[in-house]
Amino acid sequence: MNETTNNPLQQQPVISGKPSVPSAVAAPVLPMSTTTTPVVTPIQTPVNEGVPPVSPVGPRKLNIPKIDFKQIPTMLKKMPKKFKIMGGFVLLLLILLILASFTKKGRQVTQLILPSPSPIPASSPVGEVLIPTQYATDTEVLDIEKTLNTFDGNLSGTSLSEDSLRIPVLDYGVDFTKK
């Protein structure tokens, strides 16, 4: 089947002044301009014949009762005292939590929560255990030790080079013959 021959729009050119509209094709009256501008045809959705059209399913509406803001004070008045206290307490906690999150201390608290390495157990070195002999308090031994300590001090403080007493460098080249 040739589609081009059957198309009534192509058979009746738009340029030819008053077009004679065929009766078979007159049902959908398309707007036609007399100018040479291209005609935009609307997209035709295919229609399935025999199949009943599916009605569009919109979002389900929840059964939330409408809140009348004018009635809130009266509702609060009617509320039991226990709930009022609890509500106030929760509100206070919420405010405090918000304030704490903005302060530095609050941030530090969050940092403390970060994972930290667990301390590694380290054994401190135990010094050599010395058992004193009967000569630990011997006067001669103590005297030798004391003298040795003094000697050590002298030894470390000894300087061998006498740098301040190096022979002075003086001018011996007195000669007036040279110019």
């Binding site: 010395l130 058992i131 004193p132 002999t133 009967q134 000569y135 630990a136 011997d138 001669e140 031994v141 030798i144 030790e145 003298t147 040795l148 000697f151 050590d152 002298n154 030894l155 470390s156 000894t158 061998l160 080079s161 006498e162 301040s164 007493l165 190096r166 022979i167 002075p168 003086l170 001018d171 011996y172 080249g173 007195v174 000669d175 007036f176 013959t177 110019k179």
Partner: protein, 290 residues
């Protein structure tokens, strides 16, 4: 009224007299205070001699600067006035130079006298040489005044220049002897301490209180360190001997370098002493504790 006037005049006279007496008393007390501290004579030691040496060196530096200026002016102008000025400046410089050498040798002598560990024989030998050298510089110093011309002064300076190597050798000998004496003194003290420790070990062993085998072995090692220290000292002594050697080949050596070698060798000797001292401490610890 008449009596009152007499009393007033008399009282004024009394006050005037009292004032004079008090002033005289103050004068007497201050004079007594000023006299008393000068009772103790000032000791002329190395510190004082070194201060003198530094002061005289400063004077020499000033005189040398003046000499250089006068010499330059004379070389340029060649006038009689500049010649006289150069002569004066040269004489001042040479006398200041001699003073520096004298002060230096005196300081060196006192340093040697205050050093322990140098034998009396060595000290006396060096003292005698130092004294001779000081007298040479003193004679030279006194001779400068009689110099009549720049030629005389040049000749006098040349004499000092010829004598300088003698002083140089002497000073390096003294400078090397001082650390050697220090090292010897320290080693002697350590040998004495080691001897005392050995006596204690002998006592402990005879009592049978402790096992002294280890302590005795350590004392032997301490002994070895002391022997090595002594070997280094002997090496330093042989280096010192080269300073005054008459051998022409040895005499050519740089005295300052030899002195550096001496101090370096004695430094090694001192290191052995430190090790020996450390060993001895361990020996004592071994005796005191199980």
């Amino acid at each position: 009224m008449r009596y009152l006037r007499i009393i007033a005049i008399a009282s004024a006279f009394v006050f005037f007299l009292a004032g004079i007496v008090s002033v005289h008393a103050q004068d007497a007390s201050t004079s007594a205070l000023t006299v008393s501290p000068s009772a103790t004579p000032e000791v002329f030691d190395y510190a004082k001699a070194y201060k003198d040496y530094v002061f005289v060196t400063d004077q020499y530096n000033n005189a040398h600067s003046s000499y250089l200026l006068a010499k330059a002016q004379y070389s340029q102008a060649q006038t009689l006035a500049s010649q006289t000025k150069a002569q004066e400046a040269t004489a001042a410089m040479i006398t200041a130079r001699d003073s520096v050498m004298k002060a230096y040798l005196v300081a060196l002598r006192l340093r040697l006298s205050e050093t322990e560990g140098v034998s009396d024989t060595s000290k006396q030998g060096l003292y005698s040489r130092i004294d001779t050298d000081v007298s040479w510089w003193a004679t030279h110093h006194d001779r400068i005044d009689s110099a009549a011309s720049l030629t005389d002064l040049t000749a006098d300076s040349s004499d000092a220049q010829k004598h300088f190597p003698t002083t140089e050798v002497l000073s390096y000998e003294v400078l090397s002897t001082i650390p050697q004496g220090k090292e010897f003194s320290l080693r002697t003290r350590l040998i004495d301490l080691l001897g005392r420790t050995k006596s204690v070990i002998t006592k402990v062993r005879s009592n049978g209180d402790l096992d002294t085998t280890e302590a005795e072995r350590w004392t032997l090692q301490t002994d070895q360190k002391l022997t090595r220290s002594q070997d280094k000292e002997i090496a330093a002594q042989s280096l010192i001997a080269t300073l005054s050697s008459t051998d022409s080949r040895v005499a050519q050596l740089n005295k300052a370098n030899t002195y550096s070698q001496v101090t370096s060798t004695l430094g090694e000797s001192l290191q052995y002493l430190k090790e020996a001292s450390s060993y001895l401490k361990e020996v004592l610890k071994r005796i005191k504790f199980k």
